[in-house]
Symmetry: C2
Subunit: 337 residues, 2 copies
DNA sequence: TGTTAGAATAAAAACGTTTTAACAAAAAGT
DNA sequence: ACTTTTTGTTAAAACGTTTTTATTCTAACA
């Protein structure tokens, strides 16, 4: 079978402890033996068993990642960021998707078994209690795209700031009657975006009419439906701000099917900057979120938290608990520019 | 610290062997003791340590996945398929991205350490030798979107069949002068697609003119450049078949910028059916590949191969080594329909 | 020359499971 | 009543590392 550390030891005429020390260059070893061991390792094509190592050293060099089980390129970008950061730090990545019925969070067991040194949870709405329970086991946890407070670090994109910039931009175009198509159940993200919009309008002595605030669910169809309803209003809005690009793109379709033009008759803007947004016609003005960076930073932070048992308070004193990553305005055609 | 099996045993007044047997319901245990053990497990919130278990049982219940380090929604779909299948079988997923300089395949070490029971390699062009070496260690390997022969199962999409159908469709429109924009270095995928195209034409007593076969690299820009060059030809092609959608979409842009119309002047079709394809104008006629399914099947197959040491020949007798998943024609507007 | 300090290595003790072999008690067969 | 089987359980042996403690050997010191 596969060569073990014993085989290497015998082959090199040395004890297993020495082999281990050579491989982890932990302690002093004479150049001569080091070379003998290394040669044996090579000859036997030895690779230390991950389980034995994990068991003995109490560390896995593995980062756990939980992402929602949805088909969204958005999350793929986060995964890439996390993956790159993990690789960069010499960590492997163990992935679990949060199953659809979020209540059944048995999947967290995977991480309770101590086979990850830290974990990153993306947009997770599992009971806070469970998360804390795991954190209490000494497994550092970092959240991305979600914040549950309780001393757990969170990386978020600056929804408020992004929406603020976008609203300013729309006002700059001279639009005054702004409409908003919201995301699922007014999620925190969607709510923040709306709040910023309202704040900016208020700063200018304006406000968004309640009948211009439409419910949506982030999915294709809801943008279309919401827009169609908006088109029934006695006075049409001058610009529509959708909580994400998918809905914005569908809103454009609705407007165009109704014989109106974007942005000439109604301007439309979105949020997320998905790849498609630069291809639709007119190209969509939107907000780019630092998705990849979010994954990267979250992973780096999680890994940084591994190590000497520090109590939670001390930990969070070192660096801010919540990090808002800048969301930037991407100006294209659909806003009237 | 965290409760161990010893704590549970003591708490339930029983030996650790019994606890283990209860938890894995491996052997007969009296209902009374079973209940006592289960109660203790619950009270101590015990979760068996993954490393100890892995070390003792010699199995990880983990599936390894290697994907190219490229930013392609295409691969995300495969990951999802693999993930779902793994979860379905009670397996975890350990992911590694193949680093950009493919030659540096140190990342495979991860899997040499015996911490995965099987692995799925997606579109991997690492030396066959390395792969086989791992396979020889008894770790089942399945390839997706790539085939290296050598008794290693491979799941591919039916490039030939898809391209065949597409070419037939184009001929059905009455087009006779067909052009082809190839993928990177004429990859097997791209080559198969071209081969099918040529075969179909041959069946009809036609052929594709060499000056209509353009090099490309699957990326945005190359579609544009290739098309621009095609537009220089003394006689323009009637239809252009691009090896993927990204290039097709860019080819359309090139044509439109040159003042010609798609499909009226030149028809354009692609391959892959990326989300964007239904949104461009005109909507792109293309071939849909069963990407998710490929991941799913590859993972299922890999997991099925785990277990009693069977020699490779026997294994492959059971089911075909190469599986071509059907690629289907998605008819939209850009072909002239 | 004997003692001591330091370096290099070996031996042994974890790490927390699963699994195997051994054993006792109860049930069944003769 | 005495073996044989079945059932439930325990004790102990892996599993393959890392890490701690001991031990040997050299070199330096008094």
């Amino acid at each position: 079978m596969t060569a073990t550390i014993f085989d290497v030891a015998k082959h090199a005429g040395v004890s297993i402890g020495t082999v281990s020390r050579v491989l982890n260059n932990k302690d002093r070893v004479s150049p001569a033996t080091r070379e003998r061991v290394l040669k044996a390792v090579q000859e036997l094509d030895y690779h230390a068993n991950a389980f034995a190592r994990g068991l003995a050293s109490q560390e896995s060099n593995t980062l756990g990642l939980v992402i929602p089980q949805v088909n969204d390129p958005f999350f793929f970008q986060i995964v890439r960021g996390v993956e790159d950061a993990a690789t960069d730090e010499g960590y492997s990545l163990l992935i679990a998707s949060q199953p659809r019925p979020a209540h059944e969070h048995r999947y967290l067991d995977l991480f309770r078994r101590g086979n990850v040194d830290a974990m990153v949870l993306v947009a997770i709405d599992v009971y806070i209690h469970e998360i804390q329970q795991i954190a209490a086991r000494g497994v550092p946890i970092v959240l991305a795209q979600q914040d549950v407070g309780k001393n757990i670090p969170a990386f978020l994109s600056d929804n408020y700031g992004g929406s603020h910039a976008m609203t300013e931009h729309l006002l700059g175009h001279g639009y005054r009657r702004l409409a908003y198509i919201a995301g699922t159940n007014y999620t925190p993200d969607s709510r923040e975006r709306l709040r910023a919009m309202q704040d900016v309008l208020a700063e200018h002595g304006l406000s968004v009419s309640p009948e211009y605030i439409m419910p949506g669910d982030y999915l294709q169809d809801s943008g279309y439906r919401a827009m169609m309803e908006l088109l029934q209003r006695p006075v049409l809005p001058e610009a529509v701000f959708a909580a994400n690009d998918q809905m914005a793109i569908d809103a454009i379709r609705a407007i165009q099917e109704s014989g109106l033009r974007v942005p000439d008759d109604i301007a439309v803007v979105g949020f997320d900057d998905i790849p498609m947004s630069s291809y639709v016609s007119p190209a969509l003005t939107t907000i780019q979120q630092p998705v990849y960076e979010m994954g990267w930073h979250a992973a780096k932070r999680a890994i940084a938290m591994i190590g000497p048992e520090v109590n939670v308070e001390e930990r969070t004193l070192a660096s801010p608990r919540v990090m808002l990553l800048p969301a930037s305005l991407v100006v294209r055609k659909s806003c009237g520019c």
